[in-house]
């Protein structure tokens, strides 16, 4: 009995001593887990694969520097198949099974939309990834979207202004019936009206549409001056093909604007000369000077060949790397992975990234948008490397990055 009492007393003393040494007991906290569901297949897969590679590069870089606040960073990702229905399940798993510390949103508006109520309900920080206006109804105060736009004006002003400069008075609007395209189309319609453009054709199409011949025919018959298209990658490819087959008429000055997918290298290489003349948005094209992006793209290109993803990586990878950089700066500054503290830092500071300085407005969007409108010119078939030449995508807006004037009409620019 005496011996048992001694053993119990010894153990209690040891425990008391250990409790007084916080570092000793919790020395091995484990990595900081960052979770993401991101398209590796489906319509957004080509972009998602490149984006994930960039995030993996950031994790590798930060771990080589010793991690963050003494802990390694671990990225946990799942393929959402570009299907928004998979998102609630994926992110619930990330949070409740994988116990991630931080979240990055899926690539794109449509997959991100179902996630917003979840993060708002749980009070979680969410780093957005090229979404458009996905928070305007939910109004989550810990949302920080990494994309070079904020509202519809930042996206469509350049396109509409370029058309008006060449005498455009009428517009046709073609938009997919889904979150991204409708958010942009609603804004674009208002802006077109304010700019005095008459809408002569307007069509929302189901996202499963594969044949656009009838719609392109109708656009041709309506004889618009500019055609503003808001589409996702599969639709964008089908629309470009239909335009190539049917034509939009000799009076159209500008065609494009909001076609997602025409920035992905595999799609650009596939469409080749069919792209010529299209004026479309982009986040980065060769020739645009962002600090540090050239070095990143060189390193990315090597890894992309091994990983068999988009070899050029112009569109999403620099911005996904920048998401990592912003998290890194916020965690290092606050010395914490507390979501409220990180959010407070992101909201009040300008962060330096490889895509330039980023500052957020109160809605969690970029305070200073930087959407490029560029026209494809002289593109040849089956040549990926040609897209490294700045002359293949001539930036017509904004003036800060402009490399040339738009060629009109569209049919002339296609030749």
């Amino acid at each position: 009995m005496k011996q048992l009492r001694r053993k119990v007393l010894k153990a209690s003393a040891a425990l008391a001593a250990a409790a007084g040494l916080p570092g000793a007991v919790f020395a091995q906290q484990g990595p900081i887990k960052v979770g993401i569901g991101i398209a590796q297949t489906g319509t957004l897969g080509a972009g998602g694969k490149a984006a994930l590679l960039a995030l993996e590069m950031w994790v590798e870089d930060v771990n080589q520097k010793g991690g963050l606040i003494g802990r390694k960073v671990q990225l946990i990702s799942y393929d959402d198949q570009s299907n928004p229905a998979t998102i609630p399940g994926i992110y619930t798993k990330l949070l409740d099974v994988d116990n991630v510390d931080l979240l990055i949103a899926p690539y794109g508006t449509v997959p991100t939309a179902p996630l917003m109520p979840l993060v708002k309900q749980r009070g979680l920080l969410l780093m957005g990834n090229f979404s458009f206006q996905v928070n305007h109804k939910v109004q989550h105060d810990m949302w920080f979207n990494n994309a070079p736009w904020n509202d519809a004006s930042s996206w469509s002003d350049g396109f509409i202004a370029a058309g008006q400069k060449h005498g455009a008075k009428t517009i046709a609007v073609l938009a997919a019936d889904q979150e991204f395209a409708q958010n942009l189309a609603n804004g674009a319609r208002v802006l077109a009206k304010k700019a005095g453009l008459k809408t002569v054709y307007e069509q929302n199409y189901p996202p499963t549409t594969v044949d656009f011949s009838s719609m392109i025919r109708a656009i041709r018959a309506a004889k618009p001056d500019i055609v503003f298209v808001m589409s996702y990658p599969n639709d964008s490819v089908a629309i470009v093909r239909a335009v190539n087959e049917i034509g939009v008429g000799s009076g159209v000055k500008l065609f494009g604007g909001g076609m997602v997918g025409l920035q992905f290298t595999p799609i650009m290489a596939n469409l080749g000369s069919s792209l010529n003349g299209i004026t479309n948005y982009n986040s980065y094209v060769p020739g645009v000077q962002y600090p540090g992006v050239d070095d990143f793209l060189k390193r990315y290109a090597k890894k992309a060949v091994e990983a068999k993803v988009d070899p050029l990586g112009f569109y999403l990878p620099p911005f996904n790397y920048a998401i990592g950089q912003m998290l890194e700066q916020a965690i290092s500054a606050t010395k914490s992975i507390d979501h409220k503290k990180i959010a407070g830092y992101l909201r009040t500071n300008e962060m330096k990234t490889i895509v330039g300085p980023i500052r957020y407005d109160k809605t969690g969007e970029w305070a200073n948008p930087r959407v490029l409108q560029a026209q494809f010119r002289g593109v040849k078939d089956k040549d990926v490397e040609q897209f490294r030449d700045p002359k293949k995508q001539v930036v017509i807006y904004p003036d800060q990055y402009k490399t040339g004037d738009v060629v009109v009409p569209f049919e002339k620019a296609r030749k």
């Binding site: 054709y201 189901p206 549409t209 089908a238």
Partner: protein
């Protein structure tokens, strides 16, 4: 919605091409469901499988139409196997078991879809050929060559099958088994073998239909769900077992869909098939050319 008579004419022209394409993808079902009374809901899935096989052969530089023709042989054998299994497991056990066969074909459709996802992923696949991406210019009108190819193949397929079913012994036996199986048995023909042969033909035709599917547009594993409504609508609209009726029904559906798309927008186009079906079944339940 913008309207002009030129546009209406173009919509009708495109509708004719589209309608022939719908007829081509439905004609296999017209044999299996229309003539043999097999609840073959896996027909669109087999057609999508045919499209993916065409894609594979196209990566070895096979022209898609040639690939479709080449695939008809293995698909014919596949169809015979599928029917044999269906007959032994369900049809020979009476009409109740035949209804359970419906579950079998649904299961087969799901297995094909999931198999395609595992093998190819969910990405869309396309084929390349000289006639894809270019069009024929007729004055103001531009007709995509891919639609003309599908139109031509559909006509050849319809007339070939009609001739086969009316001029050959086996063809007439297939029509006979649909009309009076005991009488056919008394004539010395084995109805089960005839049906097996017919199902093989229907599946072979699905292979060619799959080739046309991927010529007309990109395919993904879930595309069968888009076509299940349209193909059954065409077959029932035509009247079960009528090949030329299938062509006519396809044309009606194609033209209606094209005009609705022009007048009311793309969102309404998928509803046309079922809307037409409801109207025809209400007025003439045996279909337009039904027996």
């Amino acid at each position: 919605m913008f309207f002009s008579f030129d546009l209406l004419l173009e919509a009708i022209l495109f509708g004719v091409l589209l309608g022939c394409f719908y007829a081509a993808v439905s004609i296999g079902l017209s044999v299996s469901f229309g003539l043999l009374d097999v609840p073959h809901v896996a027909h669109p899935a087999i057609m999508v499988f045919g499209a993916y096989c065409t894609y594979l052969l196209n990566t070895y530089n096979f022209d898609p139409i040639v690939a479709g023709i080449v695939l008809m042989v293995p698909f014919f054998l596949l169809g015979m196997l599928v029917y044999r299994f269906y007959y032994e497991a369900f049809e020979r056990r009476g009409s109740e078991a035949a209804v359970r066969g419906l579950a079998f074909f649904f299961g087969l459709a799901f297995i094909i879809e999931v198999g395609l996802i595992l093998a190819f992923g969910v990405d869309q696949r396309l084929v390349s050929a000289p006639y894809i991406g270019s069009s024929l210019e007729l004055g103001e009108y531009r007709i995509p060559y891919r639609m003309l190819v599908a139109f031509g193949v559909a006509l050849v397929l319809t007339f070939s099958l009609t001739l086969y079913l009316s001029k050959t012994f086996t063809g007439r036996a297939i029509k006979a088994v649909a009309q009076d199986e005991p009488a056919l048995r008394l004539m010395g023909a084995n109805p089960v073998r005839i049906k097996q042969w017919a199902f093989g033909i229907a599946t072979a035709v699905s292979a060619l239909a799959g080739a046309m599917l991927i010529i007309v547009g990109p395919v993904d594993p879930s595309l069968d769900r888009v076509y299940i409504g349209r193909t059954f609508a065409v077959v029932v609209l035509a009247g079960l077992g009528s090949m030329t009726g299938t062509l006519a029904a396809g044309l009606i559906l194609g033209i209606s869909e094209s005009i609705v798309l022009m007048l009311f927008g793309a969102s309404w186009a998928p509803a046309v098939a079922f809307g037409l079906l409801l109207i025809v079944l209400g007025i003439r339940p045996q279909g337009l050319f039904g027996r």
